[in-house]
Subunit: 192 residues, 2 copies
């Protein structure tokens, strides 16, 4: 039997990422977002939901760029801090969290050095939905800590240990065990 | 040191869900999607990226509705099968995977009974990005298997054991251990 829980954001698990942008004065800023996704394959695009009162919102509109920085579980405190504190109230939030940034290669947004994966996005479209705007950006470059890049071109995702967020629980999780290979395990289901 | 891997969809982990729709003839169909997210809080909306040649694409435009069905790891073979096989070529794919459906409460799309979480969405907007369209739907109702609904209103997410997909690896994973509570662990970072 199922319970009906009404209109709730119960879609999970989601990645916890930090969205990097530059403020008008050139200061780097970041906010934590769990509501993000790849949203197109050609061109490769990623999207992220941003509330209108966030400094990130104004920054993306100004610079037409953002980065998505995938943290490891070892950075959970920093990720949470960057989500709690507003860049409007605390312009130095990144340095307080001891998160250094570098300039992106291809877009006008900072990448967070400590994160093992940094995704550079150029704003291509936006969708107004209410409290949040869905910003879609073309992925122009991805940086991955070389110690997690395997010889076959895949990533050592377990070693990278990405952080997961589950909105309904307000709780962070780690990635668990591999379950199966895609485009493979489903083949055992055949016409009966 | 970081390696630059170019324009790739390296954002993870993402949930693996099945998108449920009705075909023009009333037959239920589903496709597997890892590229989905919550994209607004008020109203609560979820989005999903769908390739234009998918039957799901035509169905969403026709019915203005879809469901996002969150599977458990025990359903990995079915999820993979529904991702491999096109509804255009195999109209009976859901019955072949032994996935029964029921009508939604609020929208014109089927929910997949075996999935512990079903999210009913009413199409509110769409964004054309290239190979994929980002469909955003207002979440009208969420059904959760009652054995995973705790007395405090939260969910037993570990028991529910949701499936995770990592695009770059073409691999499914399980959810790992809880790491920390949000809006809490970050508070230890304070003005130095």
């Amino acid at each position: 039997m199922k319970k009906q829980l009404g209109s709730k954001p119960l879609l999970f698990p989601m990645p916890a990422v930090m969205v990097g942008t530059y403020c008008e004065d050139g200061n780097p800023d970041a906010m934590t977002a769990a509501w993000c996704a790849i949203c197109c394959e050609k061109p490769v695009c990623a999207g992220v939901a941003v509330r209108k009162n966030r400094m990130t919102f104004a920054n993306i509109l100004q610079t037409k760029a953002f980065t998505l920085n995938v943290p490891s579980t070892s950075q959970t405190a920093e990720v949470d801090y960057v989500g709690i504190v507003s860049g409007n109230k605390e312009p130095e939030k990144l340095s307080m969290a001891k998160l250094d940034t570098s300039r992106s290669e291809r877009v006008n947004a900072p990448i967070i050095d400590a994160c093992p994966v940094n995704v550079e996005c150029r704003l291509v479209d936006q969708m107004e939905l209410g409290s949040h705007t869905w910003f879609a950006g073309e992925i122009m470059e991805v940086h991955v800590d070389e110690k997690y890049v395997l010889e076959n071109g895949k990533l050592d995702v377990r070693g990278l240990d990405p952080l997961i967020y589950i909105t309904s629980q307000s709780q962070y999780f780690s990635l668990g065990d591999p379950v199966a290979d895609a485009y493979s395990i489903g083949k055992k289901i055949k016409k009966g």
